[in-house]
Symmetry: C2
Subunit: 171 residues, 2 copies
DNA sequence: TGCCAACCGGGGCGTGCGTTCCGTATCGTC
DNA sequence: GACGATACGGAACGCACGCCCCGGTTGGCA
């Protein structure tokens, strides 16, 4: 690959990172190209489609988050809650986190699997309500993450969901 | 108003009711016109804008729901929870319920006020966590309602939110 | 029944966006 | 330093959608 090509590819990725994070997937591709200081055609030389560019930007972060699900934790419930907290923290700052679930089937599947594992463990331990499925959790989190960008208090909304997830045999 | 004009107006409203409920606000206006058996121009004779048509379709239902907030209930918490349950029931069947919050500022304000009242009463009674604001509740519900159309189990998701809303001084 | 105003249908305009095409400029090699 | 391949930029295309305009039609009153 030519040197300027590699340089431009990086400029595009950098601009895409910023704009996707700030405005989500809906940012026009021309705007990304403009911020990168290249033409739209150049973007398409490096990424076959807008969705592919978006995936290139987000998949690294999502993969890192999924990997962090394997970290040791006090107990299964904490493992799940810490993970959900990480998702909320990320989404509170970067708008593309919630879009990733919608736009890229691969990332959605990956998240689904990781969440399913954590959820299953916590449910087996009896500390999380057993009528929740992995799909429920994915879509609920997606909705909650979007709410963070519409004036919702991140800490409060997360706490509501986490509290609601706990199995309630006591009251 | 001429007789056929009134008839067409009703046909448009009927088609809009069905399509907005089935596909949400994003359904093309031409599709509504086609289903009503009229041209797009006819739709604009009766409603100045697509948003106005949407509002005409949804405001009646939302107003009825808001009015139901004044019904007597066992206690403030139940009043709030019953109301949220009604929202969830409606949104589980009609896709335009969640869009109404986004599209129409009036409807959003109305819901915000009604929810704020119910929330405030329940918080004063000490049965609902006090760090939640009306805005938090509106955006969280919007996110949750959208999740209902993406494979989430309505009863479970609602229960999670309701459980999470309760004040937790006991554990 | 005839006339006029109200109304209708649908083709068309403007816009925004993803994507493609091609003439031109640039890089790297011989 | 020249040449071929590679990459660039941005104009242009296709599409979808909200919205408007106009020639033709229809309804209801005199």
């Amino acid at each position: 690959m030519r040197a300027d090509a590699a340089r431009n590819r990086e400029k595009v990725l950098e601009a895409a990172r910023e704009l996707f994070a700030a405005q989500g997937y809906d940012v026009p591709l021309d705007e990304i190209a403009a911020k990168a200081g290249v033409g739209p055609g150049t973007v398409y030389r490096h990424f076959p489609t807008k969705q592919a560019l978006f995936q290139a930007v987000t998949e690294t972060r999502v993969a890192a988050m999924i990997a962090s699900a394997a970290e040791p934790a006090e107990d299964p419930k904490q493992a799940l809650f810490v993970f959900l907290g990480r998702m909320a923290d990320e989404a509170a700052v970067k708008r593309d986190m919630s879009d990733a679930i919608t736009v890229s089937p691969e990332l959605r599947k990956g998240l689904h699997a990781a969440l399913g594992e954590l959820l299953h463990n916590a449910q087996k331990a009896g500390t999380v309500r057993t009528d929740v499925t992995a799909t429920d959790l994915v879509v609920l989190m997606k909705g909650m993450l979007q709410s963070l960008h519409e004036g919702g208090n991140p800490a409060v909304l997360l706490e509501i969901v986490l509290t609601g997830l706990q199995s309630s045999r006591k009251p």
